[in-house]
Symmetry: C2
Subunit: 628 residues, 2 copies
């Protein structure tokens, strides 16, 4: 033990004082949710955790994830107490000129993932714990949850997977303060009922008084000594602990004390709790030194081994490419949700060392994405994948991933009505919308195996989030193996000097556009056909050129609902040039049927494209709109 008991007590009191003072200064925040956790955080930061307090990003530091993100002020106070920055900085809490935001984000060097959407931090903690194994480090991961969070299903997905992965380097602590936002929690202080749940999920479970420092220290010892499974410490606490007038009282959630008398009185009350003669808290350094990451050499990825005209599903080409990039970059890991034989992520599992870098999550998409965020925060490059429609299950995680600037590479297979007979529940028709609304996410939608393989390499090298949409049916290979596909590009695959319209597709609709081209050509009508494989960023230059060449006759066609997809992407890209876009998209809830039947019925087949081209060509370009 590096810090004495009196010093730990004082550290807890200091965290309380700083949490109250900073939230009062900000005029908002959650002081009472900090106060309940003061002993937990003080003992973790100044006795249990091993880390370099001057180098929060050290790969061997123990990790702390604040799953109850609204208690951010106590996290910031702990790092100030550890000496990372001066205490006065805390008074900038929640200000636009400070990174000490209302909830923690990785703008701060000591935050791995943004929290504030409850039930996510524990999923990310699984990722940081898995990463320790990946890099051969002894670091441990600690995650602090609120008791209200246990209502979130994602917590139980995490509970399940942490045990499946035997994560004995993971220790959770639940701050059971018995008060939610709007009322008492479901279980209050019934610790046995809560413990029964964790025990049934096979966690080593310890119940303690969360304000008793020796009990907390003993629980951490027990957690460290527990092998083969994670530990959950259930800490019975009082919300607002330390302030007699507020302690354990409902109605104080998310309320700062009033600056001035109310705050001054509270701080005086806390200061009286300081004990004399305590030494300064100190922090032990990292437990181990991890091995250095091997450098990745992407030049070793072989060119795609397809011939033009081969028939290959892009989902399968994605699996081939994932295995190929995984073989040259040890940072790459793959995560599945029990569909690896449909998405073809099982090809990754089969490469040498693939099994160790392949994380099965069964049918639990939230923890798959949450763990990916944690892995990415510690230097891995995670490729989580499932059917595209089921990525929506993790939409809130993806949202928080964007706020975390997470380097995660998603793939969603079985996009659109082209899956056929399985019906609408399995058809992603809103995934492009979801991923385009994910800030900073590259959205890729290749049509053939060559472009798929090339784009997987681009995704792996890309800094930040990326999403690839793949298709179920086999499609012909149309590109040669040396073609390049930069993110943000597009391919003009048919053009002439007298194109009456430009048809912009991606994925399966590229082939409908090509069929439409052939038919129109046979009638003496030329169109431009563009493969918009990069939906975000979209290739504005190519689209505007197409607008100029066709008198503004731009038609998008996508196996997706009209909102938020390719039509909207192209539309925004050409708006400054004054062009409008005609959108062919799926405009009904589709039903089961054969892929071709469905493409036609829902308006995105070659026949429908031919109709749209003829209709647009019959309405001559007119003045009226603006160009910059």
């Amino acid at each position: 033990m590096t810090t004495s008991l009196p010093a730990l007590k004082n550290a807890a009191t200091q965290l309380r004082i700083d949490s109250v003072r900073s939230t009062s200064e900000a005029g908002s925040g959650h002081p009472t949710s900090c106060l309940s956790a003061a002993e937990i955080v003080a003992t973790l930061f100044f006795s249990e955790m091993h880390y370099d307090a001057k180098d929060p990003r050290n790969p061997d530091n123990d990790r702390f994830v604040l799953s109850k993100g609204h208690a951010a002020p106590i996290l910031y106070s702990a790092w100030a107490e550890a000496g990372l920055f001066p205490r006065e900085e805390l008074l900038k809490l929640r200000r636009i000129d400070s990174d000490l935001e209302g909830h923690p984000t990785p703008r701060l060097s000591f935050v791995d993932v943004a929290t504030g959407s409850l039930g996510q931090g524990i999923c990310a903690a699984i990722g940081t714990a898995l990463n320790a194994r990946r890099i051969g480090s002894e670091y441990r991961t600690y995650v602090l949850l609120g008791d209200g969070e246990m209502a979130e299903g994602s917590v139980w997905e995490a509970a399940d997977i942490a045990v499946y992965q035997k994560l004995d380097n993971l220790c959770g602590i639940i701050d059971v303060n018995a008060l939610g936002q709007s009322q008492h929690t479901q279980f209050g202080h019934n610790m046995d009922e809560i413990a029964a749940r964790w025990k049934s999920f096979e966690w080593h479970t310890i119940v303690v008084d969360g304000h008793d420092i020796p009990s907390l220290l003993k629980a951490y010892d027990e957690a460290r000594a527990t092998k083969g499974r994670p530990t959950m410490i259930l800490a019975k606490t009082l919300k607002g602990k330390g302030l007699a007038a507020i302690e354990g009282k409902d109605g104080w959630h998310g309320k700062a004390l009033k600056k001035g008398e109310e705050t001054d009185k509270a701080i005086a009350e806390l200061q009286k709790q300081m004990v004399d003669g305590a030494s300064q808290p100190s922090v032990p350094g990292p437990r181990s030194k991890s091995r250095a990451e091997a450098a990745a050499d992407y030049s070793k990825v072989a060119a795609p081994a397809y011939k033009k005209g081969d028939s290959v599903a892009t989902r399968e080409a994605w699996g081939v490419a994932l295995a190929a990039v995984g073989a040259v970059d040890s940072r790459i890991v793959a995560l599945d949700a029990d569909v690896k034989n449909s998405t073809f992520s099982d090809k990754f599992e089969k490469i040498p060392n693939g099994k160790e870098r392949f994380f099965e999550n069964f049918i639990a998409e939230q923890v798959m994405v949450g763990a990916s965020m944690g892995l990415a925060a510690r230097g891995a490059i995670p490729f989580p994948s499932t059917f595209a429609c089921f990525l929506t299950r993790a939409a809130d995680f993806i949202r928080m991933g964007a706020i975390s600037f997470a380097n995660v590479k998603f793939a969603g297979s079985h996009a659109g009505v082209s899956i056929g007979e399985d019906g609408p529940s399995q058809m992603a028709l809103e995934d492009l919308s979801m991923m385009r609304a994910t800030h900073g996410c590259a959205v890729l939608y290749p049509c053939d195996a060559v472009s798929t393989e090339r784009l997987v390499v681009e995704m792996a090298k890309h800094k930040g989030m990326a999403y690839m949409r793949t298709s179920r049916p086999k499609t012909p290979v149309i590109y040669g193996p040396d073609e390049s596909f930069p993110i943000g590009g597009a391919k003009v695959i048919r053009q002439s000097s007298d194109d009456v319209a430009a048809v912009i597709g991606a994925g399966v609709t590229v082939f409908e556009a090509l069929k439409a081209y052939d038919q129109l050509k046979s009638e003496g009508i030329n169109i431009r056909v563009i493969d918009a494989y990069s939906v975000q960023p979209v290739d504005a230059k190519t689209m505007i050129e197409a607008g100029k060449a066709t008198g503004g006759a731009l038609i998008t066609v996508e196996d997706h609902y009209p909102s938020g997809g390719i039509g909207d992407a192209v539309s925004e890209a050409v708006a400054a040039a004054g062009f409008a876009v005609t959108r062919l998209a799926v405009r009904e809830v589709p039903r089961s049927g054969q892929p071709d039947e469905l493409l036609d019925r829902y308006g995105i087949s070659a026949r429908r494209i031919v109709e749209a081209v003829k209709q647009l060509a019959a309405s001559p370009a007119q003045p009226g709109a603006r160009r910059s």
Copy 2:
């Protein structure tokens, strides 16, 4: 017991035969996942459940929810066996001309909610069970899950809430066939481990041999006799049961038998399992007659009681309006996820009988939305609400809600950067995108208290899904109490004969547009200001008129990311008229700060609007784009 044991055995065999035959004819589907459940379904449909087999929509019928939706063929076979339609119809499985889709949807009279995204059916079943209480009916709800589904966190949200609601009219059955899609499930046939989890969540839990008919019947008896809590029956089964070559074997998930010899042999094998001398199965009618729903009289909703210039947050006006419509329409129920004091749904809880129609879900958005879908399927009009950003937690449920044509009315509060200091994790900046990509969903975003109240009435009366986005800060009332706000409309709130541009906002940006109007006016520049309170459907006519009046100088401004929101909605609406749209939107991951600071920093303040108008006005209308 209405059906003899031999007849039940034969019914199970017949369901097997029909499941094999229909999937073989379709050439795809999940016969083995049907075969494991044959005795469960046969005993439910022909002994345990009370319903009118000729009238599947009867409000007092027992409900059956197939949470493992991929076993659809056995559900269809059961209804054929019950006499609802001729058995030959089953051979149209998965065809475009049949409603017997790959996974069940409410296109079928006997399906309450679409399933096929695992872990959702049990949440919907909570809704149908709550509804029995609401209408005073004795009907019971049965929900069949697969064992793989238990990995989904939503199942544990449901487990929690069903106990909290003391739903002893709910009985779950898990078909523990031990095989997932890509591999063995996590627990295989370790029934004790699975039972421990359900027991820890306080369900009455029964383990049975799922192929033993008397054991199943006894378990149902026990479930019916259990008071004050729901029952989960864990049925140990074999995937592919009945076909010796397939039974319990991995690698058969989602594979139809080959038509011809393979199928013929299988059917012959099953037919040998028929026993002689069994009577026909029969079905007992409903357990009770529920009371009729009281007619709703919306003319009794008082006009909004605000004066122009009052300062009221739309979230609060939404709470007032919810209480008002709830008072005149007993079908309306409200669902919360522990933020009722922030969204103001607690106003509904306080009306007479409000407590009985207010369902708390703690911090569990998936079960909140899933239960709403079940309630809606049985005639309730559910209003689930939480912070708009946390609705993304239920994105997959909302997606399935659209496929279910569910009459659910969502509200999301605390939209956009205008919430201020809490930071990006609490700011919905993609909710409009998510809800616009939800087929058939009306998306409403009022700016003041009067329009909010009027639009809540419109939502309640609207047939189908609807979403209202509300704001945290107080905004001035700008409309008189008699103004009407039809869904699909917009309000032109400033206009002149020489508008140089039209600024289209909604919610908080309406006021930024009004400030911009004043400033520009003082400089002698006129603009049109439009309140696009109906984002979907958007008022195309008003937008096109604005385009014509301003030479196509259309500017949208929204407290949302650029993808999928107001800019995209207006853009598509005016595309056919050849107009392009300039979009002001939030283009970075925002940070904490004061609302006004954030609106300005992220480009959607009055100042930024003034800049955009001046820039656009300086670039004269040019020919080039097309008009229809």
